[in-house]
Symmetry: C2
Subunit: 330 residues, 2 copies
Amino acid sequence: MPELRKDPVLGRWIIIAQERGKRPTDFIIEKSESKGGFCPLCPGNEKTTPAEVLRYGGGAPNTPGWDLRVVPNKYPALVIEGELDKEGEGLYDKMNGIGAHEVIIETPNHNETFISLEPERMINVFLAYRDRLVDLGKDPRFQYVMIFKNYGRAAGASLEHSHSQLVALPIQPRMIVSELAGSLSYFRYKERCVFCDIVRQEINQDVRVVCRNDYFLSITPYAPRSPFEMWILPRSHSSSYIEQDDESFRALTAIFSESMLRLEKCIPNVPYNFVLHTSPLRSAPLEHYHWHFEIMPKLTQIAGFEWGSGFYINPTPPEDAARYLREQDI
Amino acid sequence: MPELRKDPVLGRWIIIAQERGKRPTDFIIEKSESKGGFCPLCPGNEKTTPAEVLRYGGGAPNTPGWDLRVVPNKYPALVIEGELDKEGEGLYDKMNGIGAHEVIIETPNHNETFISLEPERMINVFLAYRDRLVDLGKDPRFQYVMIFKNYGRAAGASLEHSHSQLVALPIQPRMIVSELAGSLSYFRYKERCVFCDIVRQEINQDVRVVCRNDYFLSITPYAPRSPFEMWILPRSHSSSYIEQDDESFRALTAIFSESMLRLEKCIPNVPYNFVLHTSPLRSAPLEHYHWHFEIMPKLTQIAGFEWGSGFYINPTPPEDAARYLREQDI
């Protein structure tokens, strides 16, 4: 059983995923994975993954014919079965590692990348995120669902076939706690949502805008951790990803696709991560919080300074990055 | 001039080091650096670095004969000249990138690593940290000095010759702000230092202790971000690194050396970062804060999940790591 443990100084939770337990010598070879060969995410290999929890497209469950599948991770960081059991150990706090860890298989086609997906495939991905958020939100043990994508070895992807992941957590992760607290303190002072103010200022200044449409804005944020970091925000206030209507999902697909295409044109085959930031499960609509995606190209090595300080050195001003991104011919 | 910018939601400061400005195409080749060749940190090449700000050993300034040298970084993330100039830009906050960025050259011998340093050389490194903290603390523009070491390309090192770095900052980095806040709230509740409680509990439980001596304790922390993460803490309460006496520096050298040797035996030539966490410059002694080193082997890829959540998945329980480390024959 994995375990959740809390740092007593910072309040930061970590997962000890002992099932993945490694002896020191296991770390030495952990370098590259060969391309090609057997792919458990390809059609025809449905039986090699745990049974699907969501499926779009035709065919019988766990057989070919799907357009998109969501399956539990075969090597989960957290496990779905069991009661939440919180416990102290002297001054330390822990709980057993209850949660869900799922894989969103974005396309049956092994050779497509997320960026190359047709709009009707990409919208499926965003709809699947919503459907899983709604479904996992019914489980009272979970407080948050973190949805993210790793593309490229350098960004942590271990499978080539295009996929994203989600982790349902019995706690609120530190980053969300900090965003909620920061945006609340702004709201208390200004009586406005800080993200709405960002949207307004970015549209007015128009120096960090990558692209926009009626529903969404894509920007390089003012204080980016890494070169070409991008955020995609709804232009109207909304604290939860699941509040969107159909039109909005189409607009999200369009802006996400354009942003990623511009990035790919700037830096071909760039490794990247993106993460959905949304309000906690079952939270009432929040006046001070605003859901968004953060997209982080993996271009600089995180070194000692960043580790120790939470303080990032970025060689590319976001205004330059936005200009490069806008200049691309797509 | 580099710029410091603050994320308006999280309060996280980042450095835009525009002098290092890169076009998108510059990122594509940033892969490996050849070994061997010219080393600017070697004796005889003193003129290729900026003039030294600290020197231990014999010889004239900026000539061979030294045991340890500290020089400004030739490509600094922050610059030392100028007034601090804080400014708003709509809802955003920035200041010009005033600070110091220095390189501690730990040995004249190109082929020594930090772990292989003789005790009399390693103690110089720890004394140099103190001397630079004291000296930079005289500059009222600076609030914090972050001292860190990157070893190995995977951990962000770009030069082979053994060295550490420091960055003097006009702000308090987020990690320190969080540690100060977390330890203060513990202190208010318990009227004890949380780190002192950690030291006490770890010695009693004796399952995460790597090694110890009369002055220091080396542990794998209860909630480690990465496998084989280690913390080295003074056993008696002390909030500032510069408070140490000579005997204590000898003991620090001994425990640091033993901890790193055990790590190196476990995982030969492991890339790692370490960072000194100490109270802010010119802070009065703090009852609730306790200086320490955090040592992070670079064994797992930081992927989307960690980025987005500040939430880490660690495959190795610290109790297992401590056992492996203790079992090594050194």
